[in-house]
Symmetry: C2
Subunit: 142 residues, 2 copies
């Protein structure tokens, strides 16, 4: 690690996922596996930062997967014990040292300027939201 | 915000960027604008989590943009005052409430099992690394 830097940084959620998914066990493993529509409820303090996002916008939503096991370093991909163990950094397992979720979604609707309806999200109800970024046209800029 | 949840979460970096980019002012604004090769120096505690990453792997590197201004909610995109102010969530500005950087790169080389050379990275030397994820074949899974 870099000498002299802090050993930890504090994330302050900007909002919360509102979803019909109530538990991790019921969540699909990948967003295109039948994840439901969901709402991103953004804290009023951050509404100004949403300016420029509109229905049709493709965005990346970063979440804090608060139910994850942060001590996990290897997993069987797909929760299938027949798959050999792999390092979590080579998988999309939610269990990882810093369990940040990355979700590419399309905005369907914006309500009251601060509630954003998106087309599919595999995060459970109550998942903290950390950041929203636009999808860039050049995939190398992802 | 969700009632009863913690108001803050602690990130523990998994490693540090080693780069010839020494200051934010010299960093290109987007990775395809001449960003240099860089090394991801992963802390020995997390080496097991790298299993499955190899030269040629396309990965997403999540970083903590430690020089960012977290109170910024609107910016002129591209640092150009002629561009109208936009909410930071509709831009890739490093200045944002939770300054998490997202970089899509290709692995060139792995040294000693824990130092990963990547083809271009717009983060400055010393930037903390938070997570590594594989690029998924379906772009909707980004």
């Amino acid at each position: 690690m870099s000498a002299g830097g802090p050993s930890s940084y504090a994330l302050n959620p900007i909002g919360t996922v509102e979803s019909s998914l109530r538990s991790r066990e019921n969540a699909p493993r990948q967003p295109f596996h039948d994840a439901p529509e969901a709402w991103l409820a953004i804290d009023p303090r951050f509404v100004d930062a949403l300016d420029g996002i509109a229905p049709g916008s493709e965005i990346l939503v970063l979440t804090w997967l608060h139910q994850a096991r942060r001590e996990t370093l290897k997993v069987h991909p797909g929760h299938d014990p027949k798959n050999p163990l792999a390092g979590v950094f080579s998988t999309r397992s939610p269990d990882r040292p810093n369990p940040i979720g990355l979700h590419r979604v399309t905005v369907l609707e914006i309500d009251s300027g601060r509630r954003i309806k998106v087309d599919h999200l595999e995060a459970v109800d109550g998942t903290p939201i950390l950041d929203i970024k636009p999808v860039l046209p050049d995939p190398r800029a992802q």
